[in-house]
């Protein structure tokens, strides 16, 4: 599903966020990306949905060479990838419902489908009752759940969740993780970047550890800290 080869990335201001990163992730996998603040986790994900291009190396997602994609093709790549952004990136002038529905509207889905799927997704994250609120009327954790709903609403083939439980209490965090796990079992590749030690430790999945832009560890059935 994902093939990252010799990818290096430095930002215009000179920060080297990734350095010669190589990862192969299969279609059925559920992978945790861990590492300290500023390690390059978000940057790695940005490579996959082409928000940023690597300075060198290739990125292949679902047989598509992301680095060589034409600008016109980028939207179609992004529709196949659901992203839970670390900073939510909700549209401020749209309600919760509209924010989630938007991810379906861009695909040109039928109105009835949009309605049904949006309701379902909001139900899954327990935000249906706040459907008509605007993002600024939500608590941190509520925004995060709306963002999760938007990421899963159009059944993406790849789900990137960047710190999806940073503002959630342990109980809700677990529910979300179980949701991601269920989505993974329904044939969606899932990549979760997280600082939540207890979740990583209990779920026993593949763990990729980044530090200073380099892969320090890539371990099946791993835990948060190297053992």
């Amino acid at each position: 599903m994902i093939e990252i080869k010799n990818v290096s990335k430095s930002y215009p201001n000179g920060v080297e966020a990734l350095f010669d990163v190589n990862i192969h992730i299969g279609k059925e996998e559920f992978v945790f990306i861990v590492g300290p603040s500023g390690a390059g986790k978000t940057t790695l994900m940005k490579m996959l949905y082409r928000e940023e291009l690597p300075n060198s190396g290739t990125v292949i997602v679902d047989r598509i060479n992301v680095t060589e994609l034409l600008p016109e093709q980028v939207p179609y790549l992004r529709r196949a990838i659901g992203v839970v952004f670390q900073d939510y990136k909700l549209l401020p002038r749209r309600t919760v419902y509209e924010n989630v529905a938007f991810a379906l509207q861009v695909t040109g889905a039928a109105r009835s489908q949009i309605r049904r799927h949006t309701m379902q997704a909001l139900e899954l994250v327990n935000m249906l009752k706040r459907a008509s609120s605007f993002p600024e009327e939500l608590s941190g954790g509520e925004k995060q759940r709306v963002c999760i709903a938007r990421a899963i609403v159009n059944n993406p083939t790849l789900l990137l969740a960047d710190e999806p439980t940073g503002n959630l209490d342990p109980t809700t965090s677990w529910e979300i993780m179980e949701l991601l796990d269920k989505i993974n079992r329904r044939n969606t590749t899932v990549l979760v970047s997280t600082h939540n030690k207890s979740i990583v430790d209990s779920m026993k999945r593949r763990v990729v550890q980044l530090e200073g832009g380099r892969i320090m560890r890539d371990q099946q059935l791993g835990s948060y800290n190297q053992v």
Partner: protein
Amino acid sequence: MKLFGDIEFFVVEAFRGVRRSGVMSLVAIGIVTVSLFIFGLFLLFMVNLGNMVAEMGTRLDIVAYVEKAVTPDEAAAITEKLSHITGVEKVRYVSREEAWRSFRDDFTQKLDLATIVGENPLPDSFAIKVRTPDILPKVAEAVAQYPEVDEVRYSGKLIKQIQTLIDALRLGGMVLVVLLFFATLLIVVNTIRLTVLARETDIYIMKLVGATRSFIRWPFVIEGVLIGVLGGLFGILILKPSYDAVTNRLQVGLPFLPLMTDKFTLNVIYLVVGISGMLLGMLGGYISVSRLLKEK
């Protein structure tokens, strides 16, 4: 593609955009209103100025003198004949007695010409008004063809000056209208750009969740059209009563000013203002959103 569904979606999105941007949309509509009002006012002013100068030209008479005194019947016949020349607006018979009276009134306050000259040396004549000053020479020539007409006079020099002035005004007016149109364009387009720039983040997020360029673009373009149309509409709604009030006032104080009050021409001008609003809004939306879409 489900084109109609898309169009409907875009329109709904556009209305939502205008509504949800609240103050910003209102401010933008206000700016567009004011710009188009000024543009319309200027158009009206230019049309009136042109009208006045043209009217000034038509106030000049061609005077056709006849050799011998004519009877009232002959006068009526000649008036009738001359009226049929193309471009002639009005023909008036001026008897030699009338001409002498007005000549004396005009020029003999001091120099008692009447007593000097004794009898009336003036012939009968016809005062001919034409529609536009540029056809004066042609009409004069046509009038001269009539056997009854002895000699034709009109002030060629004055006409040339007026013609030059009309040409200058026409050219200057055109240049100014184009200039003001571009100014309005710059203001409207850039105002809409400001409203779009304020939603740069929205556009960026839309791109991130897989919206194509055209999917993002059209609602903004339609929003531009909406702002433009509303601005144009409000502009007209201020323009029309203002113009009516001003012309009514002027007509009372300066009855000799030839103001443009032709309903049709006025409506055309109002339409031009409205359509300008729409097109400029559209352009504004298109340009601004395209700029933002291009990045990365």
